[in-house]
């Protein structure tokens, strides 16, 4: 055997030995896992020493709504004999903006058990240190008068503290407010389930305010929506090769309008009216229009017919026929094995043949 042959066989063996390891390996970021575990211990107060940490997933992408910044999100499991927690996290451009805990078995183990208000205060203090941010310093004093058992809100300067409880789920949030407009995305919120910390999110530094003044009233927004409707041609599909133009009537006495704030450019918030117009009746499952009108410019952000997925309710039932389908019915879907399995079978066969030749050669000599 010459040097070239030896090198070729060595490379082949290395490839064969390494390839299963590459297949089995996780593309998980150990550094991120450490950072998340550090957060849930140092800030959220989870007794991480009681758990075995199992990284599950880590995905990195660059969504357009974050202006091309890197988003890194994923999950890990904390496992112990009597408590399992799924931890999900999101980083934007290297900053942790969201972390949620889902107890999938038992109750989470905390280093200290406090009520919600005390937990929130401790969280803010720890988080300020962890994230190196100063804006959390103004938040704890607002909790001094907060009652976490009732829905309430308090404003201090441009910060609104909101306590919201729905069922067993409570959110204590501080977010930006100006001129009577709330910007919940530009805020920091802590979530509790049954009084126990279960998640947090921080968009305070992530979002900026594009406009804090309302130039378009509710009535003006409705008028703009009505004008868009009057110019709209509603065409609905009535079959694979057919559609019909619907002559609709708007019910002028039935209009909803809600003011919220959403990004117009990435991570820049603007006030927007969501106006719901209703037809006098439902036409082919279409019952009105949804118009989104920018509250600073009166520009139409979107205008779409609003439909539902069916008829509610019918009083006549179709014939209840239970069909009998042969187990061997033909399928149009492909059920071929995955390509990588075939590829590995070829590699395995090739590797086995190489090994056989090597053994035979060794015996002959």
């Amino acid at each position: 055997m010459n040097t070239t042959q030896k090198a070729a066989i060595t490379l082949l063996l290395l490839a064969v030995v390494i390839s299963p390891m590459v297949q089995a390996g996780f593309s998980l970021n150990a550094n991120t896992t450490d950072k998340v575990v550090g957060f849930i211990h140092d800030v959220a107060g989870i007794d991480t020493a009681s758990y075995k940490v199992m990284p599950i997933s880590n995905t990195q992408d660059y969504p357009s709504n974050y202006g091309g910044l890197q988003r890194e999100f994923g999950s890990l499991n904390l496992e112990s004999a009597d408590s399992n927690i799924e931890v999900t996290y999101t980083y934007i451009n290297g900053s942790l903006i969201s972390c949620n805990l889902y107890d999938t078995n038992g109750s989470p183990k905390f280093t200290d058990n406090k009520d919600m208000v005390s937990t929130a205060k401790a969280f803010l203090q720890n988080y300020g240190t962890f994230a190196g941010v100063a804006y959390t310093k103004d938040m704890p004093p607002m909790l001094n008068t907060a009652d976490a058992t009732t829905n309430s809100s308090t404003v201090s300067g441009s910060i609104k503290l909101s306590v919201t409880t729905v069922g067993n789920f409570t959110t204590i949030a501080w977010f930006y407010t100006a001129n009577g407009i709330d910007y919940p995305s530009k805020g920091l919120g802590i979530n509790f389930e049954n009084g126990v910390f279960c998640g947090f999110g921080d968009g305070w530094n992530l979002y900026k305010i594009g406009q804090s003044k309302i130039s378009v009233s509710k009535d003006e927004a409705i008028k703009t929506a009505m004008a868009s409707a009057s110019n709209y041609t509603l065409v609905v599909a009535t079959g694979p090769e057919s559609e019909t133009e619907v002559k609709f009537n708007i019910d002028p006495n039935h209009v909803d309008a809600v003011l919220t704030t959403v990004p117009r450019e990435p991570m820049t918030l603007y006030p927007i009216w969501t106006v719901q117009l209703y037809f006098d009746k439902t036409y082919f499952d279409q019952y009105g229009f949804q118009a989104r009108i920018w509250a600073d410019s009166n520009g139409v952000a979107s205008f779409v017919p609003t439909g539902i997925g069916g008829d509610l309710p019918t009083s006549t039932a179709p014939t209840d026929v239970v069909s009998t389908i042969s187990p061997n019915s033909q399928n149009t879907q492909s059920h071929l094995p995955a390509t990588n399995v075939i590829l590995f079978a070829i590699i395995a066969l090739f590797g086995l043949m190489s090994a056989g030749i090597l053994i035979l050669k060794a015996r002959r000599k």
């Binding site: 299963p20 709504n65 969201s98 921080d202 959403v262 019952y287 997925g309 309710p313 209840d320 395995a348």
Partner: protein
């Protein structure tokens, strides 16, 4: 010396072959999922709604294609959504794959009389081609291995249903699990070995936007599958992550969407519902 070198290499080669074969043998046994996507495209939809759903269904398919566990993935949104296709595919998949999931977007109606309250699902050829009644699904899912079903249409989750007096409701007919086996609130109190998501009364069109969101419900569903099928978050965590995505609010959850809080349509109070186990993770 040369013989020893060759012998060591031979042993190493055999060991590595064994490693390779065993490492591939395990996933092959595990890799046995099917994911089917259906939708009524050509009735009751505008061009925008069709476009949003077409894109969304393609995104769902892509999410499952990134998950090696799923070896059978079909996007039948549109003309291939027929009663025969749905039933035959369900029957085939329950026999050939150990973990099956189905997504449907379209139109359906609950039949109030006579009891039990079955659900009729519109196929793409509605009203000219036969529609699908939930109890027709039941005999084709007897293995009980359709573990996750997401049905975006009206009244698809008014009830879990049961086998008494005869099979009724989509959740039961797909999963073969009744209210004793599936939590009626799989989001807040997850339990059971399957998960079903549907709607109490009206489901909104996928091009509609939640008042607190910047992106439509089509983006919500796409992101949900990106999280659940591709990134391995649990169903519940995926719902929350998708709510955060379309609202741009990092501390909000599904609870903050109108979709969950509820809305009125012609006097009916409507909202998304999760039955069974929201803690379930789609295998990978």
């Amino acid at each position: 010396m040369k013989r020893h070198f060759m012998a060591i290499f031979a042993v190493l080669a055999l060991l590595s072959m064994a490693t390779l074969i065993f490492s591939q043998a395990l996933p092959q046994v595990k890799a046995s999922g099917s994911s089917m996507i259906y939708g009524c495209r050509d009735w009751g939809n505008t061009d925008t709604q069709k476009a949003v759903c077409t894109s969304m269904c393609q995104n769902i398919k892509s999410a499952f294609q990134s998950n090696a566990y799923f070896t059978s993935i079909g996007n039948n949104y549109g003309p291939y959504t027929t009663k025969d296709m749905v039933l035959q595919q369900a029957n085939y998949n329950q026999q050939h794959y150990s973990w099956n999931t189905v997504f449907y977007v379209g139109h359906s109606a609950i039949n109030q009389l006579p009891s039990p309250q079955t659900v009729t699902v519109y196929m793409n050829g509605h009203p000219n081609d036969p529609d699908l009644v939930d109890n027709q699904v039941y005999p084709n899912t007897g293995s009980g291995n359709h573990y996750f079903v997401f049905w975006w249409s009206c009244a698809s989750a008014n009830y879990i249903g049961s086998g008494s007096p005869s099979p009724w409701q989509l959740a039961y007919c797909w999963t073969h699990k009744d209210s004793s086996q599936l939590s009626s609130d799989g989001y807040n109190s997850p339990s059971g070995s399957a998960c079903y998501i549907g709607f109490q009364y009206a489901s909104p069109a996928l091009d509609s936007v939640d008042p607190f969101a910047w992106a439509n419900y089509g983006a919500f569903v796409s992101d949900f599958y990106y999280c659940a099928a591709q990134s391995h978050l649990s169903i519940k965590a995926s719902l929350d992550a998708s709510a955060q995505y379309i609202t741009s609010n990092p501390y909000w959850t599904l609870r903050n969407l109108q979709l969950y809080q509820g809305y009125y349509y012609q006097g009916w109070f409507c909202y998304i519902k999760v039955f069974g186990n929201g803690n379930m993770v789609i295998p990978y």
